[in-house]
């Protein structure tokens, strides 16, 4: 009896995340997919239904692939996708380069310090994301804190234009997503057994060799997790480029906004969203395969 009860309970527990995914991922996805096959119409909502009753109890299904083929007729979309991927990739690498030493230092800090340092990483989340991005405007603009300080110190005579440049976008993205890199890396590094490094030292390995051959390989799962947490939201980033960036580079988020709001073309907007989703699902699947292999190797 009790064994069976446990099984039912386990199934229920497993059902919860599936139900969650079904409701909040699959259903919206199917709706967006449906609209992406539809046609624009001046009505509420502004697209034609896929299924239309034609009178004699006959339903006509009109599936329109044009919205997808359209994305390839105009180089705008492909270049926006590529640029988004580039921005996300560069930001991820920068986050890793900055985040890894920080996570390493926190993991090695004495116990009492560790919680304080972790707190400092999480602390920015207590203020609105939007306000933090706005704060960067105050720092970066011509009349802003950084330029004024540099001019007061006599290092520069003319303000350096930093706002509305790619530089500002990278600063914003790296700043905003750095905690997502540090936290999984810390969780991984903290678990490493210090004895391994001691053993390496005893065997004559210099610290740099020990790091490259022991710590780094062991922390790969942390690197992958942190990179995905930065890369995925960065691809679709809209707020940071629109507040800090210039107009000359288009990320896919802005293209989506334009299709949806300026062109009033929900079907093409949906097609853009679906393609973006596919671009993101591929790295997640790669990650899962990687994790599975890792588990198998251990077993």
């Amino acid at each position: 009896m009790s064994v069976q009860g446990g099984r039912v309970g386990r199934r229920l527990v497993v059902a919860v995340p599936y139900l969650w995914l079904l409701l909040f991922f699959l259903v919206p996805f199917v709706i967006v997919l449906k609209i992406s096959f539809s046609e624009v119409r001046l009505a509420m909502p502004p697209y034609a239904p896929l299924l239309e009753w034609t009178g004699d109890r006959l339903a006509a299904i009109r599936i329109n692939f044009e919205n997808y083929s359209y994305l390839f007729t105009d180089p705008l979309y492909v270049s926006a996708y590529l640029y988004s991927l580039k921005v996300a990739a560069v930001s991820t690498v920068l986050c890793l380069l900055i985040g890894y030493p920080m996570a390493y230092a926190i993991a090695r800090a004495p116990g009492t310090w560790r919680s304080v340092l972790l707190m400092l990483v999480i602390l920015p989340f207590w203020t609105s994301f939007l306000l933090r991005v706005y704060a960067w405007i105050g720092l970066l603009r011509n009349n802003g804190l950084i330029n004024n300080a540099l001019m007061a110190l006599g290092i520069i005579d003319e303000p350096i234009t930093m706002m509305q440049t790619d530089f500002a976008v990278y600063v914003g993205i790296v700043y905003a997503y750095l905690p997502f890199m540090i936290l999984p890396l810390y969780a991984n590094l903290e678990k490493h057994d210090p004895m391994l490094l001691e053993a390496a030292a005893d065997l004559g390995a210099r610290p740099i060799t020990a790091f490259l051959r022991i710590t780094l390989p062991l922390s790969v799962p942390g690197i992958v997790a942190g990179s995905l947490l930065v890369f995925i939201p960065a691809v679709g980033e809209f707020v940071i480029p629109s507040l800090l960036g210039g107009a000359d580079q288009l990320m896919i988020g802005r293209v989506l906004w334009d299709e949806f709001f300026s062109n009033r073309d929900w079907p093409v907007a949906s097609a853009v969203a679906i393609v973006m989703l596919l671009l993101l699902v591929v790295p997640i699947m790669l990650f899962q395969r990687f994790e599975r292999r890792e588990l198998e190797e251990r077993a």
Partner: protein, 387 residues
Amino acid sequence: MNIAARSLWPGAAVILLLLTACGGGSQPPAGSAGEQAGASAQGAADEEKVVNVYNWSDYIDESVVAEFEKEFGIRVNYDVFDSNEVLETRLLAGNTGYDVVVPSASFLERQIKAGVFQKLDKSQLPNLQHLDPQLVERVALHDPGNEHSVIYLWGTTGLGYNVDQIRKRMPDAPLQSWRLLYDPEVAKNFADCGISVLDAPSEVIGTVLMHLGKDPNSEEQADLEAAEKVLMAIRPYVRYVHSSRYIDDLANGEICLALGWSGDVLQARDRAREAGRGVTVGYSIPQEGTIVFFDMLAIPADAPHPRNAHLFINFLQRPEIAARNSSAVNFATPNTAAWPLVAESVRNDPIVYPPQEVLAKLQPDLAESPRFTRQLTRTWTRFRTGK
């Protein structure tokens, strides 16, 4: 001001809106909008004491809402937006829950065709008698017979500039002409102190066409190409394309020339004065003429409290209330009885209330056809990205 609109992460926005659109499947078809207005007027006695208003940011005298609540015992849920596109997308998704919305006339024109609005019950709006017939006739271009909407406030699209910075760089700058912005030989002088352009494709291209002496609402391919050529020629000198950032930047000297909306530039002028850092902001309506925009009060077909919405619209057209709003936000009211009551500095400001000869040169921004929208947006994207 623009925080709310810009913060929409587009992916989330799409999914949210699509979800609401889906829930809206049970909505009445466009044709029944009119009958609904009549039906709701009868059932008004038992209407909840609430009205949900969705207006532009910084676009009302703040005491007006409280006064309405006090007088009618109706609670006002007052919400704001800063772009016509955001409002339109929400309206087209349906089920917004709003009773009064304020789209610009060119957007309203298309929304009426999509069946978004109900016809107004004019018997509940006695204050419409005060409206200037000349202006009412102008907006009938967008809303035939003025059946669905009432002008709230109106203004112009023109050039805002930092007087000293412009003079310093070009003493004989053509301040009263579109050449100030659209002639690359002139505009290049101001590249270093910063130029901004509104992110409003149809309106901005309309002003370029007026600079070229063409019809601002032309849908000729050749005209659009000519306009694009002008825009691309000045693109290297434009710092950014945005519809509200320029207010602050003009006021604190971050930029020196902006294609902007009259009331917003005047707001920048006032802020610069208050800051007292020696920035003087000017505004001009170019002599070639410009685009006039009307922001229209309208009631969505699915508004939950249409009777309260009528009360609110009628209240806004009460002369002393209309005058207070105009004085507070530096845009013009169409209410003739309100004019003598508007603060003198605003009433006598030819920027807010242009004289007859300037009025004659103002042209509407008509809604473009759906086919043309995509070409327009594409041209706009090329301009914005500069390639």
